[in-house]
Amino acid sequence: MDTIDFNRRSFLVSSAMAGGGLAIGLQLPFGATSAQAAGGTPEVNAWVVIKPDDTVVVRVARSEMGQGTITGLAQLVAEELECDWSKVTTEYPTPGENLRRKRVWQSFSTGGSRGIRTSHDYVRRGGAAARIMLLQAAAQAWGVPASELAVDKGVITHATSGRRTTYGRMAAAAAKLAPPEAKSIQLKDPKAWKIAGKPLQRLGLVEKVTGRQIYGADLKLPGMVNATIRECPVFGGKLKSYDAAKVSGMKGVKQVLRVGDTAVAVVADTWWHAKKALDSLPVEWDYGDNVRVSSATIAADLKAGLDAPKAFVGNQSGNAPEALAAAASKIEAVYSYPYQNHAPMEPMNATARYTPEKCEVWVPTQDGESSFAAVLAASGLPADKCEVYKIDLGGGFGRRGAFQDYVRQAVLIAKQMPGTPVKLLWTREEDMRQGRYHPVMQCKLTGGFDADKRLTGLHMRLSGQSILASVRPAVVEKAGGKDPLSFQGVADGGEHSIGYSFPNLLIDHAMRNPHVPPGFWRGVNINQNAIFMECFMDELAHAAGQDPLAFRRQFMSRYPRNLAVLDAVAERIGWDKPAPAGRHRGLAQMKAFDSFVAAACEISVDSTGKKVKVHRIVAATDPGYAVNPAQIERQIAGSFVYGLSALFMQECTVKDGRIEQDNFHTYNSMRIAQMPKVECIVMPSGGPVWGGIGEPTICVAAPAVLNAYFRATGNRLRSVPLKNHGIELV
């Protein structure tokens, strides 16, 4: 733990560094963010630095945004390294260093619940390689075979001679050795884990709780100015003109600047002065045609898609249209899901300093390399003249990975004030208005039964927005116009494959892309697909006169891992026993991001049907492997805060082409008193595939609650958020 005493909002980068550009990385005094691996300490390899005092610095490529991935990755490295966990800190290599070293740390992307599952193998090998080299260094120093050495908590011993040494003393020699061939390394069996797999306290927790954690807004660089920005509120519109003269005399104002074609920024001595001036700045926009779009026009367009003859097929077996036409009875339902905003507690921000010789950006980002790419594009400088320093995020949820608009803006502003560091911090209003929204979707589901009330066919027709058509059109083109991501949770294979086999199934998507920019909201497309599928499964069960759990089981014999998590929550909630008086239960299951998740909840509803209390949720998760079970439990609970807030309270509506909700008074979030008790069953079942944790868990809470609501009231809720039905979470 550091003894440097900084008060929260005023730490300074030393002026020596700020002048010439930072060679190694931003010196931040707190372990979990970015510790300087300086003093000339050689690294053992790219993943591990060991200081003479036995401190271990684990290099982590992914970003920490409160999801605990950094701690998990450090645990995996430390496990193979066999070091003392109490001496472990972490450091972010920069994207510039990654490029210079031929991407030795590989991807920096922290999204898609991939941080651990796609990197665990090579980071473990990195830790193991360092261990092998350290032992080899000791073996050479003592003139004994390495096989005669043992190591525990960074202490190397040679039994027969009684000699011992520590990693700290061997690090310099180890750094000179040739690393072992990565493929030849034998990794530890997870069953033997002592550090990984354990519910260790997260690194950086104390800093967060005591307010010492540095966020983007806290940065202070010598000579720094502050900026805030307004982009055209109607997506696709342009900036026409603004009257800088009206505000340039206001207190603290330094510049009023055009940023690209679509935005205007005010730069001032303090952020508040910049915001006040921007609020007073007369601006004229050329809104364009999209100003005519509203939630009503979007809904009408999507509704037409529900019956459109053409749609992209995502999953099919047998012949659902025929089966439905021949069905003895049918039920049909239309569901809908709104636009939603990430709304992280920390608004978008980035700090940039530009000269023709160097462009540096400090930014909370889910992908340091994406930020770097944005700096390259916006600065026009070559890679060796650019750098990005990562700061821990005050919430990402998918807003800060694929989208680097705030980085581009900060660089474009800094380019107009060369040599001056500019901290660009959005207002909450700008953050709400310039989101990358959870896509809007409607869904018509039709189920057919034979005379004995057995399900014979199911058609799930999605109508709504494709994220990839906007963000990654190359993928959609490659798939013949289809967006494969739209079928997350109900796909015909892969990491988001459906957990049921139906006799005749058709799942298709009529793509309708409004002008509102879509993005990857935590869970991406599983949030709506879980509601559509899992609520309709309950509707089908009801029509068939069967219990929702028994009904589902009929279609799950080929999906043992889905069944296992579903059975686990059913058993724990006491599904086969009556609920306590006044309480009603619902359940849901899905596979997503290669993890299997289920939830069962208990709610009570008042006599008006308008006040809902969620008493408990039992959640089961099978991610294959659990690197930090305590952190998984927190992720599950946290995902329910996010998911239930969305279910009850959150919707972004469109009027005159722009998003209406501009702060938390119209886009609320649950409070601690409303939060149910969450009981977690973490049940990793091993196997060749590692599943993710950040996202899959979020999708099952909402359908479980909606299903419970029906059992409580007899009313089926098919659109969210529930506040639109006058329903309140109490």
């Binding site: 991807s107 390259l376 990839l468």
Partner: protein, 120 residues
């Protein structure tokens, strides 16, 4: 891409050098990537660049662009934009008036691919 390259060169060997391909090593989504190709050449009647081809390894169509030059072009250089379907190596191949072929390559990483994983 190799067969497209063979068609363009007629099977002649392609040497590294004399061509400078400038392309950012990291791009966010590959939708529109700026590049510049320049060839060191006196551009005289006896010694000039006849054509510059830009090829990609992973795009559906490997030959992105071919530009033909005569000695009166003065300078063998052009800039444009290309779409890159995914992380890949981009090649610039120059055909000189003496029939020789020269090339440069740049590895480009598309960072958004990581976000959507096995779809790409």
């Amino acid at each position: 891409m190799q067969s497209t390259l063979r068609e363009l060169t007629g099977g002649a060997p392609v040497q590294r050098g004399r061509v400078k391909l400038q392309l950012p090593p990291l791009v966010e989504n590959g939708n529109s990537v700026a590049f510049t190709v320049a060839v060191d050449s006196p551009m005289t009647a006896d010694d000039h660049v006849r054509a510059i081809h830009v090829l990609t390894e992973q795009n559906p169509q490997p030959n992105v662009m071919s530009v033909r030059f005569g000695p009166r072009a003065g300078k063998a250089q052009f800039s444009s934009r290309t779409r890159l379907a995914d992380s890949q190596t981009v090649h610039a191949v120059a055909e000189l008036s003496d029939g020789s072929f020269w090339s440069d390559t740049v590895d480009v990483v598309v960072t958004l691919s990581a976000c959507i994983g096995d779809l790409v």
